[in-house]
Symmetry: C2
Subunit: 234 residues, 2 copies
């Protein structure tokens, strides 16, 4: 599926002249395509649940408020082809997106900070994805250590290195108070995770071989506020 297409052409404007350039895609998908694939799968699973077997690009597009071309392009990038006038086979597409997003043996996630946000997240992820599950939580508060939420055990923060290695955890979610963010990130990196998702408002430094995603709800809300107040100009 993945290897019938390992080169792709695009144009670059070089000294004002258009030049055809051969680039290698199949290595890595565009950022935005990855996000959309996750969203497609989420809703394809619902369609499948309703007994639907095939779906058109414009149906997927409508669900996500994007254009059918966008959908077809994303699907092209992962090397899947639908059937003319029948659309895409939903189960096949779900399976292929799975091959791309998931690792064969899954990836395990640790969450550091089992406070209000941490516990809400543990509950939300509970049993949602086979191949991506929270396998441990860490906290510094004696009240929390040893407890279990939705099957996720809370370990003392001191054991992070040991447990992460033991359980082969590759991803960390950070939801500790801002003062503890820096130490938490270092501990996760030390322990060998390859990806970090931080929900704290404090910027983090990681080495090049760790993928970092930072999300702050206040920034998101301020953005909504800005565009809401200027809505007539959009």
């Amino acid at each position: 599926m993945y290897d019938n297409k390992n080169e792709y052409f695009c144009f670059s404007t070089n000294r004002n002249r258009l030049t055809k350039v051969k680039i290698n895609t199949m290595n890595i998908l565009p950022d935005k395509t990855v996000e959309r694939l996750s969203q497609y799968r989420r809703n394809l699973l619902i369609c499948d649940g309703k007994g639907k077997t095939h779906i058109f690009s414009h149906e997927i597009a409508n669900i996500h408020h994007i254009t059918p071309v966008q959908v077809r392009r994303d699907i092209m990038l992962i090397g899947y082809t639908g059937t003319l006038r029948k659309g895409y086979n939903i189960l096949e597409l779900i399976a292929l997106i799975g091959e791309i997003l998931d690792k064969e043996d899954g990836q395990r996630v640790a969450i550091v900070g089992a406070g209000n946000l941490g516990r809400a997240i543990i509950q939300y992820f509970h049993n949602r994805r086979d191949k991506l599950s929270i396998s441990a939580a860490f906290d510094s508060s004696p009240d929390k250590i040893g407890q279990e939420y939705d099957g996720v055990k809370i370990y003392p923060i001191e054991d992070i290195d040991k447990i992460v290695k033991e359980k082969n955890i590759t991803i960390g979610i950070i939801s500790v108070p801002v003062v503890a963010v820096k130490a938490t990130a270092s501990a996760l990196v030390e322990a060998g995770v390859k990806g970090i998702l931080s929900y704290t408002p404090r910027p983090i430094d990681v080495p090049e071989n760790v993928y970092l995603e930072e999300y702050d709800m206040i920034t998101s809300l301020e953005k909504v506020a800005y565009f809401a107040k200027n809505i007539e100009k959009i």
Copy 2:
């Protein structure tokens, strides 16, 4: 500040020939610039708290892992100018970002669904921004109605129209179970909000005059998982 600069040039390639085009920026800032301005302010407030009075573009850049040019360009877009070799006056910059992101009389926010996530959010936003505060929560559960979290009162969902209008609420955050998402979005739109931020995984439809932002934590984590497993290819 805002009006000494109401036009801007850029090039467009029209039939393979570069054409100089005059576009109007000051109307609306780029999406990504708005996000960064929120982040700049967040950390400028911290710098100010430490007694720092001026800051260089490369210092801001380091905090946020971006380039100094990016910072200067963003600041240029909002029409602020720093002092050569002294950098930007932190308080002035904070004030100007405030003028842009905030509305003069502030904007009020409602949150619908006071469950695990909803309550965590209420707590997180508590007293963080003068000009953007959660002024009401709505829920359908009799257990929750009438309670108060961090000064935010929980109203019955039936009163949403009345309260939103009464309190002049312009933004809604959705954190209800997926089955209730559609009805919640409609109710918010009906009541007249101009912006919606949804934390549910269910896609929403809104009319053109409402700004919508959807964020799903699972998509975010799946993206981290994808790039973490392919980290050596980035």
